[in-house]
C-alpha cells in the first residue's frame, strides 16, 4: 500500500492511497495477475455510513468487509491503514484472542470506531496511538487544517513512532509498508519513486489529479493494487477508482 497526505499552497489538505493486497496468494495465469487481487477488484465499493440520514463517515471498502481500511469523516479527519510486516504480527494477536486475552482491538475496527466517534484530529490521533491492537499497522491520519497530517507506527502494545507532516519535509508525508526511519526492502521500494514523483509534482501544482497520477506511476502502481482512493477531510469527499497495472508491471 502507499498512502500520501499533502497540503497545497492554500493550506488545503488532500489524502490519497493505493490499496495493495494479495501477495503470494496464487497467480492467475489467464489474467496474468494475482488471483486474490483480481477477485477483490469487482468487490470494491464506496460506503456511506449514515445515522438519521446524515453521513457519519465514508469508506472505500470491499463487499462484506465491515472494518475500515480507508475512510473520511467530513469536516474532521481522513484515515488510512497500511499493513506493517513484523514477526510479532497479527497471527499472535488472534492466538491471544483465542486464548481469552481480549483487551486489544482489531485494527480495522479501531479505524472504524475512530471515524465514528472522533470529533477532532487530535482526538483521533490519541485514540489511534493509545489503543492496544491485535496487529501491527501504520495509521495515516489527516485533518482539516494546515499541517494536520501524520503517520502513526504501531506495534501491538505501543506506538513506536508518530511522524508529523511538518517534520517529514513540509508539504507532504508518504508511507508505504516500511518504517519511515529505515530504508525499504530493496526489491519493494515504492517510496523512492513516489517521493520523486511528489517532488516533481510540486506543492504549487498539487491537486487530487496530481496525486492520482503519482499513485498511477509504476511501481507505486503494481500488480497488487486494487484501488486508488482520493479523500479530503474538509469537504468530506471520497473518490475511488479500481486500479489495474497493465503489463509490463511490477508484481508488488
Amino acid at each position: 500500500c502507499t498512502s500520501i497526505i499533502a497540503e497545497d499552497k492554500n493550506g488545503e489538505l488532500f489524502h490519497a492511497r493505493n490499496l495493495d493486497f494479495g501477495l503470494f496468494m496464487g497467480w492467475d495465469l489467464k489474467k496474468n495477475d494475482w488471483a486474490i487481487t483480481e477477485a477483490l477488484r469487482p468487490m470494491i465499493m464506496n460506503l456511506d455510513f449514515q445515522k438519521n440520514n446524515k453521513t457519519v463517515f465514508k469508506s472505500a471498502s470491499f463487499a462484506g468487509y465491515i472494518g475500515v481500511l480507508s475512510g473520511v469523516k467530513p469536516g474532521v479527519i481522513s484515515l488510512t491503514l497500511n499493513e506493517r510486516f513484523q514477526l510479532k504480527g497479527g497471527f499472535i494477536g488472534i492466538i491471544q484472542w483465542l486464548l481469552g486475552q481480549r483487551t486489544a482491538k482489531w485494527s480495522s475496527f479501531l479505524t472504524r470506531d475512530t471515524l465514528t466517534s472522533a470529533t477532532s484530529y487530535q482526538m483521533a490521533k490519541t485514540e489511534l496511538s493509545k489503543t492496544e491492537l491485535l496487529a501491527p499497522v501504520y495509521f495515516i491520519l489527516g485533518g482539516t487544517k494546515s499541517k494536520e497530517g501524520c503517520v502513526i507506527t504501531r506495534s501491538l502494545n505501543k506506538t513506536d513512532n508518530i511522524w508529523e507532516m511538518s517534520a517529514a519535509g513540509g508539504w507532504y508525508i508518504l508511507e508505504t509498508n516500511y518504517d519511515h526511519w529505515l530504508p525499504p526492502l530493496f526489491i519493494d521500494d515504492r517510496r523512492t519513486p513516489a517521493t520523486l514523483c511528489m517532488n516533481e509534482l510540486t506543492q504549487n501544482n498539487l491537486t487530487m489529479a496530481g496525486l492520482y497520477n503519482v499513485l498511477s506511476t509504476k511501481p507505486v502502481l503494481n500488480k497488487l493494487t486494487t484501488y486508488t482512493a482520493l479523500m479530503q477531510a474538509k469537504s468530506g469527499s471520497l473518490e475511488t477508482h479500481i486500479q489495474k497495472c497493465p503489463d509490463p508491471c511490477w508484481p508488488w
Binding site: I66, L98, R102, P193
Partner: protein, 119 residues
C-alpha cells in the same frame, strides 16, 4: 513480471481515469439493528464473497505442515470468536453470514485476513 529499476518517469496523464474504474456507492444505515445493516451488500455480493473466501481457504490450507490444522480451526473455532467481538461487529458479522448464506467462521476469516496474515 518486471523487476527492473524505476525508470524515473512519473505518470502525468492518468487522471481522469476511464469510466470503467468507477465503483458503486452504497449506504450503510446505522439506525438499523446491526444484524440487518449489511443485508443489501450480503445478498448482492454473496457469490463473489463465496468465491473469494473459497480461494482464501485454499490458500491457507496449502500452508505446509499446519495448513490442515488452520482449516480445522477456521471451520470449527472461528465461529465461536464472533460472539466475543465488541458491538456492533459481532451482530454485523452474524447478519452478513445469515444474509449471504456463508459459514460464520469463513465470514470472520475474510474480515480479519488483511491484518492477521501480515507475516
Amino acid at each position: 513480471f518486471v523487476l527492473k529499476p524505476f525508470d524515473g518517469k512519473c505518470v502525468t496523464d492518468a487522471y481522469p481515469p476511464k469510466s470503467s474504474t468507477t465503483v458503486p456507492n452504497l449506504t450503510i444505515n446505522l439506525d438499523l439493528p446491526a444484524h440487518d445493516r449489511w443485508k443489501e451488500v450480503a445478498i448482492k455480493y454473496k457469490d463473489s464473497m463465496k468465491s473469494l473466501i473459497g480461494d482464501l481457504k485454499k490458500l491457507v490450507g496449502s500452508v505446509p505442515v499446519v495448513g490442515d490444522l488452520i482449516i480445522k480451526i477456521i471451520d470449527n473455532e472461528f465461529e465461536k470468536i464472533i460472539p466475543t467481538l465488541p458491538a456492533p461487529y459481532a451482530d454485523e458479522l452474524l447478519g452478513m453470514a445469515d444474509y449471504s448464506g456463508i459459514n460464520r467462521g469463513e465470514i470472520l476469516l475474510y474480515n480479519i485476513f488483511y491484518e492477521v496474515f501480515t507475516v
